[in-house]
């Protein structure tokens, strides 16, 4: 029974401003830090891709099913995001350890009872970050090398 409200001059002004703002909405990426390597571009997902995000997208379970390469890809290209965090956790589940001093990953084959320098050196696969950095420029392949 109330019917439409009478639009005052002020309301009409607000409506005009709202309408013009409608044409340059903020994009969700405006509310997050810039991504160096994978900027969130604003083109919509092509129709032939599924439009609905798989549920549990941000679960560790899903990340654990990704390949090691995919996890490293996410770790290095999506730094500072939740995806990187989950990738790191998944890598650790695969016995990869992040070596803070060399800022790179190495994989341990067995969990040491006690960690000693000597033990740390002897059992893991060495992940050559520098070479990897170089390879990254050339085309992104992994290189594993045993340390004797």
């Amino acid at each position: 029974p109330l019917g439409p409200a009478i639009m005052t001059k002020d309301h009409l002004y607000q409506q005009t401003m709202m309408e013009s703002a409608f044409h340059h909405l903020p994009h969700p990426s405006d509310s997050e830090r810039l991504r160096n390597y994978l900027p969130r571009n604003q083109c919509p997902t092509p129709p032939y891709h599924s439009q609905v995000m798989p549920s549990h997208m941000d679960s560790l379970d899903l990340f654990q099913r990704l390949s090691t390469e995919a996890l490293f890809f996410i770790f290095y290209y999506q730094e500072g995001t939740k995806a990187q965090y989950l990738a790191a956790k998944a890598l650790k589940r695969q016995s990869w350890r992040f070596h803070t001093k060399y800022m790179m990953w190495f994989q341990r084959h067995e969990e040491p009872k006690t960690i000693t320098d000597e033990y740390e050196l002897g059992t893991y696969i060495y992940f050559d970050y520098e070479k990897w950095g170089q390879r990254k420029k050339e085309g992104f392949t992994f290189e594993y090398r045993y340390l004797e």
Binding site: P1, L2, G3, P4, A5, I6, M7, T8, H11, Y13, Q14, Q15, T16, M17, M18, E19, S20, A21, F22, H24, L25, P26, H27, S29, D30, S31, E32, R33, L34, P39, R40, N41, Q42
Partner: protein, 518 residues
Amino acid sequence: FDDPPGLREKTEYLLREWVSMYHSPASGKDSTKAFSAFVNQMHQQGILKTDDLITRFFRICTELCVDLCYRALSEQAHTPTLTRAKCFHTLDAFVRLIALLVKHSGDASNAVTKINLLNKVLGIVAGVLLQDHEVRHTEFQQLPYHRIFNMLLLELNAPEQILEAINYQIMTAFCNALHVLRPSKAPGFVYSWLELISHRIFIARMLAMLPQQKQGWPMYAQLLIDLFKFLAPFLRNAELPKYTALLYKGCLRVLLVLLHDFPEFLCDYHYGFCDVIPPNCIQMRNLILSAFPRNMRLPDPFTPNLKVDMLTDITQPPRIMTNFSAMIQPATFKKDLDSYLKTRSPVTFLSELRSHLQVSQEPGQRYNTALMNALVLYVGSQAIAYIHSKGSTPSMSTITHSSHMDIFQNLVVDLDTEGRYLFLNAIANQLRYPNSHTHYFSCTLLYLFAEANTEAMQEQITRVLLERLIVNRPHPWGLLITFIDLIRNPSFKFWNHEFVHCAPEIEKLFESVARSCM
């Protein structure tokens, strides 16, 4: 007053210096190395000498950043992503400078100077925005301001001890600035504004993480009320233009997040929200009224022979964070109301009641809705207290023959259709989760139906309930149990009424609702 000669050029130089230092690899973790070098430059350039110069410095920086964005946006040469990258290159650096200055101003433990500076900067940015909004009118762009506010929110909510210690003051400063920039003041900023107050960090801080958990709730409620007040006139029309429809949809999304994650917040502030949500926004209002405390188990309203008055929660009053009794004005009216409730005098009170509520002859705007809502809830809560004082609980028999019911019966008889609609809405707004208000007002509505001396009243009561039921979910628990009781309880002879059979589709509608309830 005009800026001192040369200050703008000096500021422009300094800002450019800072942006390049910020982006250089040598800036150090969180740009701390760059910052200490830059502060020296600020000192040397005399920027930090007086409060006035600092203010002018920030205002000019803001204007320079904004101008840069307008230039980049007008170039149209780039993709939106590239344009943004270009703008954010400077904006993000500027924000980092603000954050560092806030963090390092005054000595480490002194929050006052930090928050003063933050308030100053937020005020300056808001000031520049409002002026820009005024001057550029429909050419106004939200991008630079959105980025500054948003990145400053991220920067000042980083997990750092110094920031954690003053987080409440930081969030208060943001709320003050956002209230200054509320949609009715800056409609051209409304989409950014809603995006800002619904940012996951903003919601986390305001509703979940502030030390004394509910410190942020009243401030957040105020911002939502700002939004509802802005939307109200536009939502009163059935036809929504796409830009209003989008804003409304965005608002629903935010409310759904709140309903899912913070139902107690919606419960506590439902009264203030319903006061400003237009009565015809039935689904949005239902969404708020459907909230119930997470630790509460709601019995299925469709359970046959549900004994509502046996539920333990039904005796507990809900938390209502709005001081609704203070909203009953003028004071003389309140005094007369209290006196009538207590002693049923002055006898003229009932006959004058409508004149207090009616404020104009303009159809659709005849009544002071806020006063109507406050009166209904106040009288109802006084009635509950009165019934409890007699050692009883609200029921169809205990709510009758009291000064409280006199007032309600007077209103339902004396008001015109529009007034009665608002009055019945005020009652229906209390039909929520199991609590003493829901129970009392459910009984009251049914009692008014049973005692109505004209079928028009009964029809209108039914309409108010039905319009809330036929919209898409969610539906408040109290609404369902009231309507189910109305159609099931033979004492109301619901199905005998003419209006139930006034048209085949109406009849069909009732039957389908009944089928789902019985």
